[in-house]
Amino acid sequence: MSRRDRLTCALGLTLVLVALTVALVACGDTSDGGRRDMDDDAKVTALEDDVSSARDGVVRAVAAALGSDFVGGKRRHRWCGESYAPRGVRLDEHLRFAPSPLGVQGATDAAARVLEEQGWTVERPGNPAVVVGTRGAVEVRVEAGPAAVQLDLGNPDCLETSDDVARAFADRDIADVAWESPSS
């Protein structure tokens, strides 16, 4: 087979592959789609509840221990893969706080202590300014710096759903995180 023939075959094979896979992906995603989507919606809701509970629980406790005031936050809704194959969802809530008067080391130590006290599995990665707590599917990442303390909470591992559910999740608007200070 000549090089030209091989290229022609490969080209044809590619087009067949694209068409076939698109069709199969479409079939695979819509077979019993209604029931699966309902199950996936429930999984997503459970994840959101877990993240909200973490924010209202351990994150508040960490912020209080660090003595840091809330500055602002965003809730991000993302799919895991690419537009043609979203695979599932990731939720990320980013919360920004004022610098801690405890300093970087004091803040990370305090955050680790609070996470442990509340039953989270704590990891101290190579960056001494970072503490990571994990409970179930939810992770809380604390990064302390002289200019800000930032917490990210969400599911680092993809929560697998149908592509339709993932797309609908990612289509949600960017949301500001509501945060009421304890005194209010």
Binding site: L13, G72, K74, G126, A129
Partner: protein, 601 residues
């Protein structure tokens, strides 16, 4: 014992009521408004009596000229405000940095004082003289530090006062007129002419930019944001400022236009692209560098009309000009400015993972300023666009632009050269390989799910280290795997052992045909993400063997095999349905029969 006089603790520094990111936010908004005002004023002035070389004695009766002059007053006031805000931001950034140093000194001194108090409490009479000497030394330190803090407070107060005065100097229309007539007002056209023919040379652009005054820089940014924002060699913080202004002015102007008339197709595309980028910037508006307090996101490219309306955009999390490790990700097929979700998610995941390592500062960005094959519907044009995925034409053209972009990052880099990695996925891997082949100045090249490389060996491609992530059951990465030395439609398979790249561990993926695309979109997870992170932070990933003939499933084998597995599953699931259906029919029939019998009179 004798008394030892221990100095009191040094109190905390005054809180900075104004922070650098507050000034940046204001500056970006002012500049976005200024760009639209300048656009209108440039049109009006160019056709007004002021641009007329003949007899313009009756200009005062010309309404358009009056309009142009009046708008110029607003423009001059906004120019002053943007420049003042920029100065204010710089001063706040320096003051903030100084405050961190002073606060560190204060914490250290107060700690030493606490230790001294403890030592005094436990000391005997004989220690008094030595302890008092320590106290005196600490007193001297305390005095110096208090003086430094007082001087810092004064500088902070001065910065605020001077900014307030700068705004107050142009907060009436009459003061705006004075600003407009100021002979020292910068003419951006004159400034741009000093660039000469060097626009294609990033190093020369960098030297040109360094020679400009801050007023000249700000004038050029506001007048020509599309030029500055996309000009390789301009420092990233200024490109970001220019591109944010362009995005803001596009959203503002086109949204206003949309309210009273339908937009053209090109305008709709532009507004969609601007809005998508604005959403990303808004999404990251609360993310700052925890050390410097500067906004994390930097928009380094914004070309909303490029690539048949798909637009071109590049963005970093972190500042590549100052980071120790810089990584650029190039997404593949179906990526465009309007669909950045997956792309920014991958960048965020990598930035997060690399930031945990503690191996230096990290900036991770994406570059999407090439015509990635995409599809927005099933028109013939869109099908043709998608069909281009099977030819390397766009990858080759994109590779040249990508290499230029990376040259620009090298030129604007500050301090020691950053460790620069280039990561391409899918068609973006082919594009990245072309960029490397064109001499892109990278240290590491990472090819994920690559459908093909322009050369048959890594050594022929680039002098950079070549790393290859290739899932066994990713069909796209098998497109080039016809065999050693045999290319596919997009080139050679870089995962072949004979290619000579370093293949690293990734999840092989699911062996169901309907999951094959998922396998292709899972490189920013688990082991694969961990290995990419290692490369980005200058470490070696976990290696695996490259492909040898006969040791892997070829594309046709994968398709047939995974289809058979999926087909079996499908039959199994349908089989259950059939059984359920039969059982249901039988039960229903019996029940119906029983009900019928019961009702039978």
């Amino acid at each position: 014992m004798s008394t030892v006089v221990v100095p009191v603790d040094v109190p905390a520094l005054p809180v900075m009521g104004s922070l650098p990111d507050g000034a940046v936010g204001l500056e970006n908004d002012l500049r976005a408004a200024l760009v639209n005002a300048k656009d209108v004023q440039a049109w009006a002035e160019a056709i007004s009596a002021d641009a007329f070389t003949g007899d313009a004695s009756d200009a005062s009766g010309h309404a358009l000229t009056r309009f142009s002059r009046r708008l110029d007053v607003t423009e001059a006031a906004l120019e002053r405000a943007v420049l003042a805000t920029s100065h204010f931001e710089d001063r706040l950034a320096r003051l903030f940095s100084q405050s961190l140093t002073l606060d560190g000194d204060r914490t250290s001194l107060n700690g030493d004082l606490a230790n001294l108090r403890a030592d005094v409490a436990a000391a005997s009479e004989a220690d008094t003289a030595e302890l008092q000497a320590r106290a005196d030394r600490l007193e001297a330190r305390s005095t110096r530090l208090r003086d430094d803090i007082a001087a810092w407070s004064t500088r902070y107060a001065d910065a605020e006062a001077e900014f307030v005065a700068a705004l107050a100097a142009v907060d009436t229309v009459e003061e705006g007129r004075v600003a407009a007539a100021d002979p020292g007002r910068v003419d951006p056209a004159v400034v741009v002419r000093t660039l000469g023919s060097d626009a294609d040379d990033p190093a020369a652009v960098r030297r040109w930019w360094d020679r400009l005054s801050e007023a000249e820089r700000q004038a050029v940014i506001a007048e020509l944001p599309a030029l500055v924002g996309n000009l390789a060699g301009v420092p990233v913080r200024y490109r970001d400022a220019a591109n944010r202004a362009a995005v803001g002015s596009d959203v503002d102007g086109l949204t206003a236009q949309q309210a009273d008339e339908p937009l053209t197709e090109q305008e709709r595309d532009r507004l969609a692209n601007a809005s998508a980028v604005a959403d990303v910037l808004d999404d990251y508006s609360q993310d700052v560098d925890p050390v410097t307090g500067e906004l994390l996101a930097h928009l380094t490219q914004y070309q909303p009309d490029e690539h048949s309306g798909d637009g071109g955009v590049a963005l970093f999390l972190g500042d590549p000009d100052v980071a120790d490790h810089v990584s650029v990700y190039v997404p593949g097929t179906l990526s465009e400015t309007g669909t950045l979700d997956g792309t920014i998610g991958n960048v965020d995941a990598l930035h997060d993972a690399a930031g945990r390592s503690g191996d230096g500062t990290v900036a991770v960005g994406f570059w999407l300023d090439y015509d990635a094959p995409s599809i927005d519907g099933f028109s013939p044009g869109e099908i043709a666009d998608l069909a281009r995925v099977v030819t390397p034409g766009e990858a080759a053209a994109g590779g040249r632009d990508l290499a230029d972009y990376l040259d620009g990052l090298r030129a604007s880099d500050e301090g020691a050269p950053a460790h620069l990695s280039l990561i391409g996925h899918s068609y973006g891997a082919t594009t990245s390989a072309y960029a490397a082949h064109d001499g892109a100045p990278v240290d590491d090249l990472v090819l994920l799910g690559s459908p093909g490389s322009p050369t048959s060996t890594a050594a022929g491609l680039t002098s950079a280290d070549v790393h290859v992530g290739s899932a066994d059951f990713d069909p796209i990465t098998l497109l080039g795997a016809s065999g050693p030395g045999l290319p596919g439609p997009l080139g050679y398979d870089p995962a072949q052992d004979s290619f000579g790249g370093q293949r690293f561990e990734v999840d092989p993926g699911s062996y169901r045909v309907q999951d094959l695309f998922h396998n292709h979109s899972s490189y920013f997870d688990d082991a694969s993400l961990s290995n990419i992170t290692d490369i980005v932070t200058g470490h070696d990933p976990d290696p695996v063997d490259g492909r040898h003939p006969g040791s892997y499933q070829t594309l046709d084998q994968l398709l047939v095999g995974s289809s058979a597995v999926s087909g079996g599953e499908w039959l199994w699931e349908r089989g259950e349905d059939v059984v359920d259906g039969v059982v249901g029919s039988v039960v229903g029939g019996v029940r119906g029969l029983a009900e019928g019998l019961v009702r039978f009179p």
